[in-house]
Each structure stands twice: as structure tokens, then as C-alpha cells.
Symmetry: C2
């Protein structure tokens, strides 16, 4: 067997991929893409990512959510919270997202990812149109009220260092593909906006 489908002599060796992203996408009927959610802690990133995923799955889309639950204890379990490690964390997430896009998957990443430079670097790994930045825009006071794990409170008491929104900066996206006012919109409304974006960008039909 060889790539061109010609007969092979005994020891012809090839190892290039024949299953391409394009073939996978054709099989599935939708494109691969990264939906990069960014925003303050408790701004709704994971919630909306999972709600969008549910809707996409119901229409037979291939999806994966990358978030703290499956990344921080796994691939990035060796990283702490130093400036270097935070940057490396985002870099690896970008690289993994790229692999999933190659696999034809809609990848939803839900990380604070507070620094513009890190997000731009992740964007730079992907082709134009394969990286859609979604800003979960929510006043810090509202995030603080939600705060399920009491992180804001602990940060204010000085127990959590470098906590984004309290003791560390959050750099808002200057030109995200979509901004969701998550203090004002219901989850359903946010999901609808996301699906409209995906249709507009030709990710889904």
C-alpha cells in the first residue's frame, strides 16, 4: 500500500496521512473550529461552553470542551501559577485545540486566559477563521456574587494570590469575534448568539 494507491514492492515505506481534516469534515457535515472563551472567573465561560456543546451534539456535531477540569489535572498538571507556567498552560491548550481542529472537532476552551498576548499566540497557531474568540463580558461585581467556590472572597482576604479581577489584571479582547454580556443575557440567549456565529462563519449549516 502506498499513498498514491499504486502497488508496492516488498519494502516500500510510506507514512503520510491520507485521512485529512477535509475528509473528516466532509464525513461529519461540519467544520472544525476553536471557540476560545475568555473572561473573568465566574463570568460564564464553562457554563456557556457546555450549553453550546449540548446543542451542537444534538445536531450530531463532534465537540470537546477543554477546561480546568480536564487540563489542569492532566496535561498541565506539572504547571503552577507563575507567569511562565500560566503562559505555558495557554500555549499547550492552543496546541491541543489545534490537534482537535485537525480532527474536525468543534473545540470549546473555557479558561480565564487574561492576557491578550497569550490569546493572540493561540490564535496564531490556527488558520484564519479557525479561531473564534468569545468574550464573556460581565461586571466583576456580578462575577463576585456568583462565585460558587468563594474564590473572590478568598482573594479579597489575601488567601488567593494573583486572582484575576481582584489582584491580577484581566485584559479585555479588543476585537473578539463575539462578546456576550453574560450578566444580562440568559444562557439560552447566549447559546443562540453562538449558534448564529457558527452558522455565519460556515462552521455549521
Amino acid at each position: 500500500m502506498n499513498e498514491s494507491g499504486k502497488p508496492r514492492s516488498p519494502d516500500v515505506v510510506w507514512h503520510h496521512a491520507t485521512v485529512t481534516r477535509e475528509r473528516r469534515e466532509k464525513l461529519q457535515g461540519h467544520r472544525g473550529v476553536v471557540l476560545w472563551f475568555t473572561g473573568l472567573p465566574s463570568s460564564g465561560k464553562s457554563t456557556i461552553a457546555h450549553a453550546v456543546e449540548e446543542r451542537l451534539h444534538q445536531t450530531r456535531c463532534r465537540t470537546i470542551v477543554l477546561d480546568g477540569d480536564n487540563i489542569r489535572h492532566g496535561l498541565c498538571g506539572d504547571l503552577g501559577f507563575s507567569a511562565h507556567d500560566r503562559e505555558e498552560n495557554i500555549r499547550r491548550i492552543g496546541e491541543v485545540a489545534k490537534l482537535f481542529v485537525e480532527g474536525g472537532t468543534v473545540v470549546l476552551t473555557a479558561f480565564v486566559s487574561p492576557f491578550r498576548r497569550d490569546r493572540e499566540r493561540a490564535r496564531g497557531l490556527l488558520l484564519h477563521g479557525d479561531f473564534l474568540e468569545i468574550h464573556c463580558r460581565c461586571p466583576v461585581e456580578v462575577c463576585e456574587q456568583r462565585d460558587p467556590k468563594g474564590h473572590y472572597q478568598r482573594a479579597k482576604e489575601g488567601q488567593l494570590k494573583d486572582f484575576t479581577g481582584v489582584s491580577a489584571p484581566y485584559e479585555e479582547p479588543s476585537d473578539p469575534e463575539l462578546a456576550l454580556d453574560t450578566a444580562r443575557l440568559s444562557i439560552e440567549e447566549s447559546v443562540e448568539k453562538m449558534l448564529t456565529l457558527l452558522r455565519d462563519r460556515g462552521v455549521i449549516r
Copy 2:
């Protein structure tokens, strides 16, 4: 937002995954699994992985091949070839493979992965039955003859250090799920053995 997933009024917020591996697998009609190819350089790992992928794709399976081409220049682009870095390389590949299995994908990894301990660690990340070790068993003399990039020659001339099979050890799997004698078998025969394994293990029908 609350963690327990209970509804709360007025703006019900949850962020747990509802799209599970099981739902994805049901949608697709096959299981996620890692096929971990291991063997000397030029023993046929990538070749057989890609040939198996082609066959699986033709039956509508979701697949991805992880190999040097898409890992060493991306996710592991920061790593060199020290003992630590080689170990970390395999660790990350195992973690990424785990994410793809969660996504319901048949992941084919094609790395020399010469050390038993590293492979066992990757196996340990996954549930029993989700990690199938495939040993591409091939005499070093045959690998050397194939050697498309002239690596064996360069290693023998001392230009490549710590080259597995020449100047670095390869630890054979003691109990792989499948051993393929790639010097003797045609690619087609190896692919058939792989598909039989996948059917026997309930990965595909």
C-alpha cells in the same frame, strides 16, 4: 453558578458536561481507544497507524494519528531529547490521547517510546481496555535497511546521539495487546490483524 448542577432561580447556571464520552460513542457507533504503537525507528509504526486510520475512516470512525509530525513541532516543541524531556514528551502524548478518547476518538500514537516505564505510565492514565499496546516487532537490521531518512547511518557515524537501536536501548513490551512482525507481514496483513483486535475488543463492530 453552582457546582452541584442543581437548578437555581432566576438565572439557572450550571457548568458540568452533559455531553459525555458514552453519548459521543453512541452517536458514532464505535468506542474511543488508544492504539499505542511502539517499536524501533523505521519498524513501521506510522505506516501501519496511517493505513489502519484509512480503513477506519472508510467505515466512518473518528480517528486521529499523533506522531512526530504533529507533536514534536507543536505541543512538545519546547522539549529536547534529554531523559527528562523524553519522559515528559510521552507523558503529554498520553494526556492528549486521553482527551481524544474522552472525545470518543480512535487515537493512534506512533512514537518509538522505548521505555517500558513511560508506556506503562501512559497506560495508567486510561481505563482498562482503553489502551492497547501494539509492538511493531522488526529486526534492527531490517529497520536499518528501510531507514528512509538515513538516521541509522548517521547514528552509526556518531552524528545522532542516543539513537534507539544503535546507541540507546529499546525495551520490548513484555505483554502487548498485539505484536506485529512487520518484517514478515505486509502492511495489509498488519492492518487486518489490527482490525481483528479492534473487533475482538469491542471497539468497532
